[in-house]
Symmetry: D2
Subunit: 346 residues, 4 copies
Amino acid sequence: MKALLCEDDGAIRLAEQPDPRVEQPGDVLVRLTLTTICGGDVHLRHGVIPAEKHFVMGHEYVGVVEAVGAAVETVVPGDRVVGAAIISCGVCDRCRVGATQGCRFGGILGAGRSWGGFGGTHAELLRVPFADHTTAKVPDSLDDEQVLFVGDILSTGHYGARAGGVAPGDVVAVLGAGPVGLCAVHCLGLFGASQVVAADLEPERRAIARRLGATATVDPADGPLTAAVLEATGGVEPDVVIECAGSAATLAAAAELVRPGGSMAVVGNPGTNRELPLIDLFNKAVTYTGGLARLDRMPELIRLIDAGRLDLRPLITHRITLDEIVAGFELFGERRDGVVKVAVSI
Amino acid sequence: MKALLCEDDGAIRLAEQPDPRVEQPGDVLVRLTLTTICGGDVHLRHGVIPAEKHFVMGHEYVGVVEAVGAAVETVVPGDRVVGAAIISCGVCDRCRVGATQGCRFGGILGAGRSWGGFGGTHAELLRVPFADHTTAKVPDSLDDEQVLFVGDILSTGHYGARAGGVAPGDVVAVLGAGPVGLCAVHCLGLFGASQVVAADLEPERRAIARRLGATATVDPADGPLTAAVLEATGGVEPDVVIECAGSAATLAAAAELVRPGGSMAVVGNPGTNRELPLIDLFNKAVTYTGGLARLDRMPELIRLIDAGRLDLRPLITHRITLDEIVAGFELFGERRDGVVKVAVSI
Amino acid sequence: MKALLCEDDGAIRLAEQPDPRVEQPGDVLVRLTLTTICGGDVHLRHGVIPAEKHFVMGHEYVGVVEAVGAAVETVVPGDRVVGAAIISCGVCDRCRVGATQGCRFGGILGAGRSWGGFGGTHAELLRVPFADHTTAKVPDSLDDEQVLFVGDILSTGHYGARAGGVAPGDVVAVLGAGPVGLCAVHCLGLFGASQVVAADLEPERRAIARRLGATATVDPADGPLTAAVLEATGGVEPDVVIECAGSAATLAAAAELVRPGGSMAVVGNPGTNRELPLIDLFNKAVTYTGGLARLDRMPELIRLIDAGRLDLRPLITHRITLDEIVAGFELFGERRDGVVKVAVSI
Amino acid sequence: MKALLCEDDGAIRLAEQPDPRVEQPGDVLVRLTLTTICGGDVHLRHGVIPAEKHFVMGHEYVGVVEAVGAAVETVVPGDRVVGAAIISCGVCDRCRVGATQGCRFGGILGAGRSWGGFGGTHAELLRVPFADHTTAKVPDSLDDEQVLFVGDILSTGHYGARAGGVAPGDVVAVLGAGPVGLCAVHCLGLFGASQVVAADLEPERRAIARRLGATATVDPADGPLTAAVLEATGGVEPDVVIECAGSAATLAAAAELVRPGGSMAVVGNPGTNRELPLIDLFNKAVTYTGGLARLDRMPELIRLIDAGRLDLRPLITHRITLDEIVAGFELFGERRDGVVKVAVSI
C-alpha cells in the first residue's frame, strides 16, 4: 500500500509499504477513506514529541472495515468506522479503572515503536488493535468529514469540558483556539456553559470560535490576557478554564483567572515541566486536571453529530488527497493560508 | 394589601389583608410585581394537596425588595428578585446536606399553616424568610416575564434533567409536557441530550415542546406510549426518562422504557402511592429519583436566561392583572383556550 | 465431568456431563476448586426465578485456569481465579456505559438456556466467556474460602453500599441480614458509616452481623421495624437504607425510614411488582437504586481481603464436598442448623 | 479577658484584652475551654504566612456558647461547640457553590486584619461570626480532647482523602506525617483504602501513623522516597497520593508516584510557587487538587468520633494551660520532645 513515512531526519515521503493484516483476534483491518494532519504529527516529525523514527504517520481517520479478528464483537466487514488515536486494550488494570492513557498494551497510532508500534492513518490500510474498544460505527446519515475529528481532537475538546466539570450556567474561558480549543468551545454548549470566552492570536480562529459557540473572543496581543477575559465576562471569574495552548503564559493565566473552588483543565500539551503558581492554586483550592484525548465517548459524539448538535466541519479549511499530503504538511506546519485542519482523501 | 384568599370550601376571593413586614433578621419584604398561577395552587384549593384553609395563595413571583432584616447579606432594598417557592433555612441538619425539601424550619409559600404558615404571592407584598437562601437577584437586562419561572417550575424542570444524570449524547424521553415538562424539555439542551422526545395529549403543548427543543413529540392518544417513544428514537431505549405527569400509566411507561442502567426522574407529583414494576427496575438496575423543586440553582438559571440559552416565555399564554385572578384560576383550572401559564401583573 | 443437574421438576442430581472446553477466543476453562450454594440456586430450582430446566447449577466459584482462548489478555493457565456470577462482554453498547446487567451477549452462570446458556459452578470444569471481564486473579496469600464470595454476594453487598452513596459519617440501616445483607454490613465500614443497624429475624444472623461490623441489630419480631431501627440510631433517620430482603414489608419500611434526600438501595430481589410509597419518596426526594450484583470491583475486593479489611469467612457455617451437594441443598433450602453459606469443595 | 497577642516583631505574650461580644445577628460568643497550637500559628508569627501584626492568636478550639445573635438557628447558650478555623458566611456567591475558602466575608481566626480581622482562640472568649455555618455541637458523650481537631486539621486530613477521591480498595501514600498527615492517615480508613503508606522523617510520627491506620511507613532518610513507597506497596503505584508536607521534594515525588489516571491531593501548604512535572501529570492524566481545610463535614466527623471510628487523641503529646502557652509555642516551634500537638486548657 501507499503510506506516508517519517524518516530519521524528520523528512516525510510517500512510499510503498507492506499491507497490514489482521494479526490478533481483537484486530480489524480498515481501508482508510479520510485522514487529517494533526499538530501531533508535526511534533512527532520534529522531535517535540520524542519518537524513534521510520514509521507510517497519522492518527485521525475514517474508513471501512475490511476484515475482523475472531474475537471482535461490535463491528463487521463493511461497517464504516472512526477510531481512537490512542490505543487501549480495555481490560488491563489501567484500562479497567478508566486510565486508558496508561494502558499496558496501548500506544498511539502513527507514532512508531516508541509509542506502541502501531500503524498510521496517512495510508491506504490500517490494522486497528482491540477494535471493540477503539472503533465506533458511523451511521449512513453522516459523511466522512462530519465524523473526521471524533477519534482525536473532538474527543479531546469534549474531555476538556468534562474534566473541568462544566455545569449549566458556568462561565468558561478557553485559552487557545487551535483545533483542540475550537472543539472545546463547540462542546461547551453540551454542558450548558452560559458564557464561553475564547482567546487566540489569530483572527480567523477567533471567527471560527464565535461560529462554534464562543460568546466572546479575546486577542492576547491586545493586552494582558487575564484582564481581557475578565472584561469579556463582565468581571465574573471563570468557573472553569480550559487550557489548550500548553504555554507558560496560558498556564499562568489559567491559574490566575479561575475562581476559588474552580477547575483548570489542561488539554494543551505543556511540552515541558513548568512552574505553576501553586500558592494561588492552594489558596483558591483549584482543581487541575487534563491530559491527552480520552476516547471513551465516541458513540455519544457521533450521536450528537447525527442530531445536528455538533458540527466541526468549519475546522476543515483545506481538502487534499493522499498524493498531496507532503505539501499539506508544509502548509499546515507553517500555518499558511488560515489553515486550521487539512482533510486528506485516500 | 390586596391578596387572593383560599377559603375552607375551596372558594377563592380577593380580599384586604394586613401588610406583612420584616419579622426575623433573615427576612426581606418584597413588593410583588408579577406572579403566576400554578397547578399546585389548584391542587391546594381542591384538597389534592391537603392543607388547612384560609391562606393567601401563590408561590411563584418576581418583585422588588422593600426592606431587609439585620442579618441579610445578599440583597438590599431596591433589588429586583425572584424567590424559591419552597422555603428552606439553609443551615439545619437537613439543609446542610442538601435535603432542603425536609428543612426543619421550611415550608411552601402560599399554602397556609399546614405547610409552614408563609405568605403567598398572589398579593401586593410578601415576607420572604431566610432571604439569603431563598431569593436571587435579577439583572436589569431581564424583564419580569423572562425570570417568572425561575423559583419553581424552571428549577423543577432543571432538577429533573440533573437528577436523571443526563450527559452529552443521551437520549431522553419527557412524559408529560405541561409547564414542568416543558421546562424539563427546554433544560435538556443544557445537558447535551442528543434526542428529546416529549409526550403529551395536547397538540398545543407538543408544539411548544418542539419550539423549546424537543426533537420529536408523541401523542399518547395515538397508541401505546412506549412503542411511540421508541419509534421516535429510532429504537433506542432512552438513557433517562423524566416523568412529569405523575400518573400510573406514565410511571409504568417510564420504568418500561428506560434502558438497563438508566434513570427515571420523577418530577410529576404522583399524588398517591402506586405499584411500580419493581422487577423491571431491579433487573435493569434502574435508578429512580425525583421530588419537588430543588431551588439551589436560581442564579445559574438567571445567568442562562441572560445569556439567551433559556427562554421560557413561550409558556405564557395569557396575561392578566391581580384584579382578574379569580377568572384566571377558572381558565387555568379548566385548561381552556390552550392555556399553559397565566402571568399575573400586580 | 461430574456436575449437579437441575431437572424439569426441580429435582437435582449429580450426573456425568461432557467436559466443557475453550470455544471462543475470549474464553478460559477453569478447573473448579470451591463453590457455594446460593439463594438464587434455590429460586431457580423452584421456579421463583423462571428458567427452562435441565442445566448445570451454580454461579459462585474459585478455581484454576486450565486453558485460555487466543484473545485473553489478563490470565494464563495456572492462575487461580474467582469469577463473576453474571456474565457480560464488556464491549457492547450496554456494557460500555456500565449497564453490564443488560449485556447483549451476557447472562447468568448455572441458570440454563433462559439466562444465556452458560455452564454452572457445581461441577468440575467451567467454561468462562469474556474472561478478561469476568475473572479476577487470586494472590497466593489468600485461600479459596477467603475469596469465595467475591464474584457474587460480596460484590452485591458492596454494590448496595456504593449505590446508596454511603459517605463517611452516614447512618445506615440494612434490612435483612442473609448472605447479601451480611456482606453489605461488612462493606459499610469501607464507606465510613458511623452507625450500621442490621435487622433480621434470626438471632444467629444478627450475631454474625455484629461480628462483621453492625453497631446495633434489631429483631423485626420484637415490634414495628421502623421504630426499632430509629431507637437503635438514637432517633436519627438513616441517610441510606440497604434493602436486602425483597419483601413488601422491608421495602415499605425502607421508604419510611430514610431521611429526606437520602437513598434506598435495593439489592434484595423483590420477586414481584409491588406498591411503593411514592408520595413519601417524592416528598422526601429519595433516590431508589439497586439491582443484581455489579461485578466491576472484584480486584479491589480481593485487595481488601488481602489487606485484612474484609473477611467474610464467618458466613461459612457448613463445609461439604461436591458429592454431598444434594444434601447441602436440602440443609440450605430449609435453613436448618443455623446455615448461612455452605462451602462446597470440588 | 486574657489572650495571647502576636506583636510586630513576632514576639508573643499574654495580655489583657477587651472581652468580645455578639455584634452581628449571626454571631455567637464562645467561652473557650480548649485550644491547641498549630503550625499555622508559627507561620503567622514568623511571617511565612504574611499578616499585619498585633492580633490575638489561635484558630482551633472547643468551648461553650455564652450568647447568640438574633439570627442564629442551630445553637443556643450552654451548647458545647467546636468551630471552623476558616470563617465563611455560607451565602455569598462563593460559599453558595462550595468555594468557602474564597468567601466574600470570610477569613481565618487568629490571624489579624490581613485575614478578616477575627478573634483568636488562645484566649478566654471568642466572637464567632456566621455561627450557623461555622460551629458544630458536641454531644455530652465526648470530651474536649476528642473533638479538639475537628475544626481544622481533622477536617483538612478528611478533605485530603475526599479530594483525592479515595475509593474502597485504593492504595494511598501520605507524604508527611505531621498533624495534618496523621489526620489524613486516620481518615483513609473511612474511604476504604486497602494500603496506606505514610512517609515521615521522624520515628515518633511514623509510630503514631501506624497506630492510626498506616499499613506501612517509610523514612525518607533511608533513600529515594518513590522507591521506598513502591517497595512498601509491593510495587503498586498509588491510586492517590496525599501531599501533606508542601515541599518541592514531596510534590515531585507525589507526581512521580501516582498511577495514570490517579489523583494527588495537596493539603500541605506549598508556601511558594514551584515547578511541577507537568509532562508527567499530562501524560498520566493526573488530577491535582487541594487547598486549606474544607470545614463542611464537622458534624459527620463528630458522629464518627462518637461512634469510635475516629480517635485523634494520640496526636496530643503535651498538655498545658493558657498561662503556659508562650513556653508551649517554643516547644512546638522547635519540635522538641517528640511534640505533635499541644492541647491548651483555658
